[in-house]
């Protein structure tokens, strides 16, 4: 006979909703949209249809400023807020590498969880225990990568 569903994992919620995540959710950094951005893109979560719109200003190859908009869950808001801080001064290849590292963190990779390159993002490590929420955490990063890969599109 198949086993009943897994009992709730103790501590998973505490790991997910750490104070740092909630702080970013309550007071997000760089929320809104930049005037006359050099690049912009929107990424939608196919599961819920919610979207994060990112606007970017560049200084040559490097990002000088990022803002995000969208009323989404705490996980994606915190990830977006942290992203706007971390992205400053980085190039597209560096953003792609960081997004890959974040994906490893979200899958529970221990080395990623200790990687200083991820900065505050390490607080998102608890998502690994609730994999249904991984798409929320990567949503803003998809938008940022798309923006950098594209010509400037109409700003929503």
């Amino acid at each position: 006979m198949p086993r009943p569903a897994e009992p709730p994992e103790s501590g998973a919620l505490e790991a997910l909703y750490q104070e740092q995540i909630l702080a970013h959710y309550r007071r997000p950094h760089n929320k809104g949209s930049l005037d006359e951005p050099d690049a912009s893109a929107t990424a939608a979560n196919p599961l819920c249809g919610e979207a994060i719109a990112v606007t970017v200003r560049r200084d040559g190859e490097r990002i000088s400023e990022v803002a995000f908009a969208g009323q989404t869950c705490a996980i994606s808001q915190a990830s977006a807020s942290m992203m706007t801080d971390l992205a400053r001064g980085k190039t597209l290849p560096e953003i792609v590498a960081l997004t890959g590292r974040l994906a490893e963190l979200l899958r529970g990779d221990r080395a990623a969880a200790a990687d200083p390159a991820l900065g505050d993002l390490r607080a998102l490590g608890g998502v690994a225990r609730i994999p249904a929420r991984i798409p929320c955490a990567v949503l803003p990063w998809r938008a940022l990568t798309d923006a950098l890969l594209q010509e400037v599109t109409d700003v929503a």
Partner: protein, 410 residues
Amino acid sequence: MSRRTDFPLLVRNPGMHYLDSAATAQKPRVVLDALRTFYETAYANPHRGSYALSMRATDAYHAARERIARFAGAVDSTGVIFTRGTTEAINLLATAWGRAAVGPGDEIVVTRLEHHSNFVPWQQLALAQGAAFRIAELTPDGDIDLDRLRRIVTPRTKVVAVAHVSNVLGAEIPLQEITAIARAVGARIVVDGAQGAPHIPVAFDERGIDAYAFSGHKLGGPMGIGVLVARREFLESMPPYQMGGGQIEFVNDDRTTWAPLPNKFEAGTPNVGDAVGLAAAVEYLDGIGMAEVARHARDLSAIAVRELRLVEGVRVFGPPITARCGVVSFTLDGVHPHDLATILDQDGVAIRAGHHCAQPLMRALQVPATARASFAIHNDASDVTALVAGVRKAQAIFGGVGTPAHAAAR
């Protein structure tokens, strides 16, 4: 008496509080048994084989249609067409009837509270045919504004398409009044009964409507089977939706004639097994009595609304308690519905969070998403208690009410 024991999945998951029946209903044992019995005793391709087993499959399919016609209050079972679900039933009408009957300058009317399944097919039909697409707005209480509806329904209106019950607000719409408004101008009236059929008798013949669509899986039947109940004259007025085996009469080199109803609309090998499963599901519901099924869900949603309103920062959407068909949509200040659903899930409480495939309504409610708990015959007061406890827990985790993110959304 708890009917939880009728549902094997819930028996196997004692800690589970399943509050997502509006998305899909859990299956009573009798449905699973009926599926198994069909596959073990009567499985063959119906209509085709000239042997006894194929006849048994044909008979099972026929009996399922008769049983479901009875459930739907349709004397003429040839107007009961099996589809994959509500979505396919509405697409059938919007495509087969719509492309033939709607032209430039005509008008199509839907309401603000439609599920995308009863919105997008009509919107796209209007765009393709050069017709006007009109949306009947709601009153501030979330009811369909009948005065405004009367103003947008005109002699050019070809169809009024409405949900019997909103999957977000849980309200039963005033179908009788809306039918009269549509009839007065000679428009077709099409009803999306995905949320209606599980709670309100379909009573097709009594309603004077042209078509009623519902999904088997929301009634406790299998996924992949649904029903379009329609007037014979309506179905005969339109060309087939899909063409192929089983739905033809004669195929000449240069033209084809169609099989009589219902076969005309059922191209390809039919989904006999799931039709049999759905027949068992409606037998189960009729055995309890639809009045009791509805009362049970309404009582539990009333308790849930009352208890949730006691939590500071909770906002409940939708109609007064008495008009609620087992659906409670709400938000909690400072906590996004997705986070709420994750927190509830940790305690075995399954609810839906999101826009519920009703983005036009979400825009009117001015929220990006809601949390939705929905109740069925197997739920009891302990499910409500677990829901409310989880909401309070989410509030504690997020540290109180009124964060800027959500204050802005109100």
